[in-house]
């Protein structure tokens, strides 16, 4: 039996057990989720490009007739035998607009539309969803009726009609129109969550603590809704961007502002496929694909963050 340091003896007073807090918190925080982070990086990059792009590339090149026509990207040759140059590394299209400039402006524009439409949709969703879930009765029935009906209306059709009636539509206005169809989904989601959280122990406890209805909704229930809200936001944004591209691809949407969808529209309209000008419709498509992948990654990451059971089984 070896002598062991007697100072090892702990105090006899029972101490509530504390896991090693520091180490656990820093590296095990659920936010260090690679899907979430890579998605955020992609979207973040595009936002940065939107904000700082003009510092690095001449934005005047986005105007019509600012560049030579129909040039391919660097290292490629077009049908006429012209080579791409570093002055227009991503090529140009048939009106003389530089593709790189178009991407630099168009990509953030798409995000903008998605963000505005989703924000508006979520805001409406929060208000209506809370009302439906909390107040119940006829308010709930009414809201459900409207939201379910809206969901069944073919949105693209209605948007086309509306846009046909309004000759000049700005980016923001289009986003507002898209929000008209983006709100039912968050409303239903939030209503469902509010209904279930309303009966939870902590809400009852808060009622007993004299909390007002306002505090119950925004102090107790809302914070627990944040993960759902975030996921819903991302989903709405993705859906709105897609709808916007759909509209623009048909020639509707803002006509003075360069957007990815409009670029694709112009490309198709000018028979870019037949002329083998793959960069004209290909680059916007690629950028859109990257945006959607980014949004998807964020969504998957948020899923894992919010639902511990989906995380890799460590802890």
């Amino acid at each position: 039996m070896s002598e062991i340091d007697a100072s090892l003896s702990p105090s006899l007073e029972p101490v509530p057990s504390t896991p090693k807090m520091g180490r656990l918190n820093r590296w095990d925080t659920p936010w260090l989720n690679w899907k979430f982070l890579s998605g955020m990086s992609i979207i973040g990059l595009i936002v940065l490009i939107g904000v700082f792009g003009r510092l690095f590339w001449n934005m005047d090149l986005v105007y019509v007739a600012s560049s030579p026509l129909n040039l391919p990207p660097v290292g490629f040759e077009n049908r006429r035998g012209q080579q791409g140059t570093w002055e227009h590394p991503l090529g140009t299209e048939n009106r003389g607009c530089d593709m790189l400039a178009l991407m630099v402006i168009g990509a953030p524009n798409s995000l903008y539309v998605g963000a505005v439409a989703a924000s508006l949709g979520i805001s409406i969703g929060v208000i209506l969803g809370f009302m439906a879930g909390f107040i119940g009765n006829w308010v709930d029935d009414l809201i459900r009726l409207i939201s379910d009906t809206t969901m069944t209306i073919p949105s693209l059709l209605v948007l086309i009609i509306i846009q046909a009636l309004i000759p000049q539509v700005s980016l923001t206005l289009m986003a507002f129109l898209l929000a008209l169809f983006a709100w039912p989904s968050p409303t239903r989601l939030i209503r469902a969550q509010v209904l279930s959280m309303r009966e939870s122990g902590y809400v009852q406890m808060a009622r007993l603590s004299g909390a007002s209805v306002f505090r119950l909704m925004f102090g107790e229930i809302m914070p627990n809704l944040l993960p759902y809200l975030a996921a819903s936001f991302i989903g709405s944004a993705a859906g709105s961007i897609l709808a916007a591209v759909g509209l623009e691809g048909l020639g509707l949407g803002p006509q003075r502002v360069p957007t990815l969808g409009r670029t694709i529209y112009l490309a198709l309209e000018s028979s870019a496929l037949l002329r083998n000008m793959w960069w004209w419709w290909g680059l916007p498509t690629l950028v859109l694909a990257i945006i959607f992948i980014g949004l998807l990654l964020i969504n998957l990451g948020l899923d894992e963050i919010a639902n511990p059971r989906l995380r890799r089984a460590s802890g």
Partner: protein, 331 residues
Amino acid sequence: MLSDQNQKPIVLEVEGLRVYYETPAGDVLAVNGIDFQLYQGETLGLVGESGCGKSTAAMGVLQLVVPPGRIVSGQVLLDGQNLLDLSARELRKLRWAKLSLIPQGAMNSLNPTMKINRQIQDVIDAHLGATSKQEIRDRILELLQMVGLPERVYHMYPHQLSGGMKQRVCIAMAIALSPQVIIADESTSALDVVVQRVVAQTLLRVKEALGVSMIMIGHDMGLMAQMVDRIAVMYAGKIVEIAFVKEIFDHPAHPYSQLLIESVPSLKEHKPLKVTEGITHDPRHPPPGCIFQLRCPLVMDQCRQQEPVAQEVRPGQWVACHVYQSSEAGQ
């Protein structure tokens, strides 16, 4: 009584079983080296607080441990055969047929979309294969009768049954193939007092009728007194005492056993409340020496340095505690 027990064969033997759970901050030592034997025809109670590892031990015995848990070491001998050596296929054949489990919250794990007869049939089918429909039907009715359920339960869905009835269906499933050993994990926890009695008595009756050996896992010492022949007391992943049920209630040897028994409220006498704290050490880093040192009223220096070894202080009563070691070794 002891020699009687010793002459009975051992149906299940667990030696040095360790089951750990992986977490980012280190392994949780859920089951940290337990040994016990289950004799033919007896009921062994495994009792302890929540978090002591008793359910994990049951999972370990049945080889049902899933990541992040893993079996680190030990042997589980069923009729002499080490379960840890068997392949997954061989284990599947064993489960339900020789060794079955009534898991915790079993009544909630019944498939809500299947009628009762289908659920019991599933268990039988998987093992007996080619038996005639009539035979299976007869067998299921026989099982229902054995657990005291009326025949019409055969056609019912789980939601139509009360908690006690669902639990008895789970018992029926566990005995469907006449296993040798049944492990019942908290079989009566969520039930009302009278229903609890009915289910407990059903278990006992079934056990007598079939001659199975049973391990009953629970935290209610009162219930244990009614149901089991021997008790193993578990604390923080270790078995601190094993004894015949009468011995443990008359002379609980380990301080934790004493604590458990004292905290059982009785309807016969008005005892003052015995106040105590819960498990206080970090399950990832148990203190050196005796696992119970932080809560033990009799703790000595030796307890903080050296882990006590199980000793037989009375015939059939084994304790892991230095209080007995020192008196034995005369230190």
